[in-house]
Symmetry: C2
Subunit: 366 residues, 2 copies
């Protein structure tokens, strides 16, 4: 991956904004700029942060536990180990490398941390500037190298789905299926699931974010499987919906309606179109059939190093799509007491349309 | 679980501080006060937040996707669904319930979110007050009901470890073992692992936070397994170290040294002792043997709804231990190029000493 190119772009931005350095703590941003794979335990327990100076070499700050990992992943950076917290190290490092104005990620820095930074760095005459989404903005548009990695992630996800689907009737409960899926993901080389796999049957599927249950799956009820994995850092995300036994008429009708909406959404996606218009293309189909109120979420979201990232295909977003963006297209209908149907593919935005990354067609056109 | 008792305590605190309500977003705090099990995808994608008014009923704010989950988990709260973001809903709700002064968790609120809150609520003449660790402080001391849940989590974790250990030579790689462990955890009813399971053999074990590798495990090298699970919301955390084949003299010497340090640490722990003194009791043993520099982390940390919580048994913490606190005791020695040994148990602080929650004794006294 061309990290130096990415860093150069950030450095140019910093110089234009007359900022001396950027502090990067958001894990996917950190990985995007450096390849560092250290795992955080939530926002409060960081495995390290980057200092990207407007000129000069990248600094990776971490603690003793991650030293070897950092050296392995980012040998070309200056690795600094803190023993008494990152803040103390920053107070020493930043004046040394001539930083007077430091930008920090205001959307990934806790309020209390920012206050502490302000106080401590203030004493060193360093000014703090909140910035938001600077690297996320870059991450929205994927290079062909990244698209290929995401394609591999999508395909592996489909392989896992296919193997599980082929023996679906051998599983007793939603939890069994989730476990089989997430085990197979790792066995096949994924770093893990990109989110908690959703397996929801019957009524439980009327919760878009259902938690898999331990009760027996009913053969003639619909089954939603929403799954994704992380391969070489890049995420996939796919939803299929089917009936292990025999679907009834209502199911067939709604499934076809959701699929029609998905096809309309995918047909609308191309460079230059607004996110809200992509959403609208799919939503109209569902609304016109009288189920508008049952489609309570956006049409889709960006996928990359994070499983949910920009752009969001929301009815409220006038943002335009650009070539190289990767988004999910996932309309759904959820009826409390009955169940839900959602179908989700991932697509790459291209100049004249979109490229569907999925090859799997299980129960799409029924 | 006695949620109303917990909420009453928070409400008393709020009234003493003349605060009208507390906004709770930190997932374990949210679960602690309400039992709500909604899963967040990191800090930026919340599955809901609580408004705890100084007087009156709890409000749980969430979006459409989590409505049924919220109703199932917290039927006794007032559930409010936001369609256009939590902020808009707060702007309407807070004046309605007479809130003029709102506390927010400054250690779990992003800087940019706090700024937005300030601006929007300011227009409604609502003042924001940052508070830090109010609920975490309560969570430090576990009730006997919680201790029993944590004991069950520890025991299930040991059962999983025991089954894997009994067939340890049948696994080829660190990744194989991790997968077998995490699969078995779920099969046996855990919600999942409480952190990414560490399986590190030989040199890789000199990284305290090693990532499991795909290379074959050498029979005569040391193997570190650091694993924990979540059962009914409560975490466990345990580390064992052993050699699948025949350990050499150096290994035996260092293993016994680490165990001696662990025993000294556990012997020191009782109500009233300072965290740094517990750490010191173990650290001295290792330092006196000349390996002080190879024990680069704290002796332990609190465990409860979160796998890492207060108190930390750190050489820099003068905090005192109280009955009902649960901490890990996990000294280690890490030698780059050779490997590492860490042994970890969980204990409950009692008036006159500590109660060891672990029953497993695999390779502790060799």
């Amino acid at each position: 991956m061309n990290y130096s190119n990415r860093i150069t772009k950030i450095q140019e931005k910093l110089r234009r904004k007359k900022i001396d350095a950027l502090l990067v703590r958001q894990p996917e941003n950190r990985r995007y700029l450096s390849g560092y794979t250290g795992d955080d335990y939530g926002i409060a327990e960081s495995s390290g942060l980057l200092v990207v100076p407007a000129r000069g070499n990248l600094h990776l700050l971490t603690d003793f536990r991650y030293k070897l990992q950092a050296e392995k992943d980012v040998p070309w950076s200056t690795i600094e180990i803190y023993n008494r917290g990152a803040l103390k190290l920053l107070c020493n490092l930043l004046p040394d490398i001539g930083v007077e104005k430091l930008a920090f990620e205001s959307h990934y820095t806790l309020f209390s941390t920012a206050e502490k930074l302000k106080t401590s760095l203030g004493k060193k005459n360093i000014k703090l500037v909140p910035v938001k989404g600077m690297i996320e903005k870059m991450r929205e548009i994927k290079s062909e190298e990244e698209i290929e990695l995401i394609r591999k992630s999508v395909r592996l996800n489909e392989t896992v789905f296919g193997e599980i689907f082929s023996e679906i009737t051998s599983y007793q409960t939603e939890i069994d299926i989730r476990l089989a899926i997430e085990t197979l993901m790792r066995r096949k080389g994924a770093e893990g699931a990109s989110f908690d796999t959703i397996v929801a049957s019957g009524e439980n599927s009327s919760l878009p974010h259902a938690v898999p249950a331990n009760s027996p799956i009913q053969k003639n009820e619909s089954l939603t499987i929403d799954m994704g994995l992380i391969l070489d850092g890049y995420c996939s995300d796919m939803t299929r919906n089917f009936v292990p036994g025999k679907p009834d008429k209502q199911y067939m009708k709604l499934h076809r309606l959701v699929r029609k909406a998905q096809l309309a959404g995918m047909a609308a996606i191309r460079a230059g179109i607004r996110c809200c218009d992509a959403d609208k293309a799919a939503r109209e189909i569902i609304a016109d059939a009288g189920y508008g109120i049952n489609f309570g979420h956006s049409l889709g979201h960006g996928v990359g190093l994070a499983v949910h990232e920009q752009p969001g295909l929301s009815s409220r977003s006038a943002k335009k799509l650009y070539p190289g963006m990767i988004v999910t297209v996932e309309p759904g209908i959820y009826i409390p007491g009955w169940g839900g149907i959602r179908l989700e593919n991932m697509v790459v935005v291209r100049e004249d349309g979109c490229e569907i990354l999925n090859e799997d067609t299980t129960w799409l056109d029924i």
